[in-house]
């Protein structure tokens, strides 16, 4: 059995199979650019998000992902390019006329309104009758498991509950595309993991296209149908979580998503993921067809379910290998300082584009 990296994500959601619906573009961006003075926030982004898809924009802070989301919402106007929603050009349509709704990072709930009034605000503005409004608000409250809390004020709710209200306030309008700007950023780890599952379930139930911004790679891998990895205002790679993780297009993607070991052998740069590396004991023979390199264990980091082994290869590079903790607690540390042989199958490596 090959060791698996699993300590960080005990609550992994099974990612759905390929979409069975016919793929129709809900949102399309054509070479969209946005500058703030001399700072380039978004540099010529092309993007296509399908209907009903959970699409994630993943990147470090300053990569332009939030700006891109604000361009789609209409809070910012692009300097160049075109934005289409459901096939319609909305590049110069103001936010209040766009069929998008946003879940803000700070939730942006109206503090002077009750939870129910917050959720019903969009319907009220659109002139939905009081009765119809109340029914839909109650349904939305039930959907986010806040039934019975409609009369409360936002400041009487916990962080997680406010997050749900923000979600309900956006979803209740049944927008063409729902935009989420790091909605789980303010929650603690446990709550965040619960909400990841819940958000994904809600998205599948309502069938609304989600465009989700996060800097958390694990969140992106767990929830997305597809994701775009962004850096410096550009998209580095678009693909399913498996594609992006297993076949990173650039060194940046390889480094940003998961731990990546980049090696240069015979003029070719390639990535080996830590969980694909086997450690071969002294005297043992590595299975046939595997590449074997010698090194020395520098450090063993205990992460609960597994341990990370930092190994310095005799050829100079440092690699990280991961192994599940099958042995008794604390045993792994005894390997520190010992020589070790690392083995991997060439099939499990991925060659990086030399272009970037």
């Amino acid at each position: 059995m090959s060791p698996k990296m699993g300590a960080e994500d005990p609550l992994k959601v099974p990612s759905p199979g390929p979409l069975d619906k016919p793929e129709k573009p809900a949102l399309r961006l054509r070479s969209v650019s946005k500058n703030y003075g001399s700072v380039v926030a978004v540099a010529g982004v092309d993007l296509l998000v399908n209907e009903g898809e959970f699409f994630t924009l993943l990147g470090p802070s300053g990569s332009g992902k939030t700006t891109l989301l604000r361009l789609i919402a209409g809070f910012e106007r692009p300097d160049a390019g075109r934005i289409e929603l459901g096939g319609r050009d909305i590049t110069s349509v103001p936010p209040h006329l766009r069929d998008t709704n946003t879940v803000f990072q700070d939730y942006a709930l109206f503090p002077h309104m009750s939870v129910a009034d917050n959720i019903g605000y969009g319907l009220r503005v659109k002139g939905v009758s009081r009765q119809a409004r109340e029914k839909r608000v109650q349904r939305a409250l039930a959907m986010v498991r806040l039934a019975g809390l409609g009369h409360r004020r936002p400041n009487q709710l916990s962080g997680g509950q406010r997050q749900r209200v923000a979600l309900a306030r956006a979803v209740v309008n049944e927008p063409e595309v729902l935009l989420l700007d790091e909605p789980l950023g303010a929650l603690d780890l446990k709550l965040r993991q619960e909400m990841q599952i819940e958000l994904k379930q809600i998205q599948q139930r309502v069938g609304i296209t989600f465009v989700y911004v996060t800097h958390d790679q694990e969140e992106a891998l767990t929830m997305s149908d597809r994701l775009a990895v962004m850096a410096n205002g550009q998209i580095e790679q678009i693909g399913s979580p498996v594609e992006v993780y297993e076949r990173p297009a650039t060194e940046f993607v390889a480094g940003f998503i998961g731990i990546s070991n980049v090696l240069l052998r015979n003029g070719v740069r390639f990535v080996v993921r830590p969980e694909k590396i086997q450690m071969v004991a002294e005297g043992e023979h590595a299975p046939a067809g595997m590449t074997v390199e010698n090194g020395q264990v520098v450090e063993v980091i205990y992460v609960g379910m597994s341990s990370r082994y930092v190994v310095r290869l005799d050829r100079g590079e440092q690699l990280v290998a991961v192994r599940q903790n099958m042995d008794a607690v604390g045993d792994a540390r005894k390997f520190e300082g010992r020589p070790v042989r690392l083995a991997w199958t060439p099939d499990d490596t991925y060659v990086l584009d030399n272009g970037r």
């Binding site: 209040h96 946003t102 942006a108 109206f110 002077h112």
Partner: protein, 254 residues
């Protein structure tokens, strides 16, 4: 405290010496004489009118300052609001006399474009104008502070949910800025309520305020107990006003 106690004393009408006998004659006089009713009503109505006027003028101004103007324009407007406060109160009132006088700047301007003169000098209208001008900064600043504290994301959220700009301002900004306006109204209302100089300088024959009657009773009539009793009236009104203001969250906005 002394004010409160003195109000329940009396004076000897012959010697005008204070007689320290507990009685409520002073208050009964205030309650029973129509002349005092009209003076109190005039003072309170004027204070309310000035407050409403200032609120209406200050809100769009403060909104522009807090949410529309660039940093530089903001600084300039701040200076424009605060600079008059450096000038003496009297200088500012006299400046208005020069404007509102029968042969003042206002009538001169009106006549030069062929309009009839507006003789509002030395009337209650003049008082209303002058009070509104003098206390306006005290309304603008707390309103500005409250408006600045409304996060931009709330306006974006309203727009995102389909609200036009004016709708977002009405539904979100106005209710959230209200405590600031109420805080400002404490200043405009109480400052007008306690004033006695503007009524003397700009007001006419029927423009006496509570403060003027108190002043007359201290200086001319030398009836300090009655002056004290009358002075308690605005204090009581302000106490009620502050209680309401507190309910509206004005103290958190200060």
């Amino acid at each position: 405290m002394t004010l409160l106690i003195t109000a329940f004393w009396a004076i000897d009408p012959f010697t005008t010496q204070i007689v320290q006998v507990w009685n409520t004659d002073n208050f009964q006089r205030i309650l029973n004489e129509p002349a005092y009713h009209s003076i109190i009503t005039r003072t309170v109505v004027m204070a309310a009118l000035v407050t409403v006027t200032d609120a209406v003028l200050a809100f769009p101004f403060a909104y522009f300052m807090a949410r529309v103007a660039s940093r530089r324009v903001q600084t300039l407007l701040f200076a424009a609001v605060l600079l008059p406060l450096w000038a003496s109160y009297l200088a500012r009132v006299y400046a208005w006399i020069l404007i509102l006088n029968h042969s003042g700047l206002l009538n001169w301007s009106l006549q030069s474009i062929g309009l009839p003169a507006a003789n509002i000098g030395y009337t209650n209208v003049a008082m209303w104008v002058v009070f509104s001008y003098i206390w306006l900064p005290f309304m603008i600043i707390p309103t500005y502070a409250a408006l600045e504290r409304v996060p931009e994301s709330l306006l974006e959220a309203a727009a995102d949910l389909g609200a036009r700009r004016w709708r977002a301002v009405r539904d979100v900004v106005l209710p959230l800025a209200l405590p600031g306006v109420v805080a400002g109204s404490i200043f405009t209302f109480s400052l007008t309520l306690g004033d006695y100089i503007t009524p003397i300088l700009v007001g006419g024959a029927g423009s006496s305020f509570i403060g003027n009657v108190v002043y007359a009773n201290v200086g001319i009539a030398n009836n300090i107990p009655f002056a004290a009793a009358l002075a308690i009236v605005p204090v009581a009104i302000m106490a009620v006003y502050l209680l309401i203001a507190q309910r509206l969250g004005a103290f958190e906005a200060l």
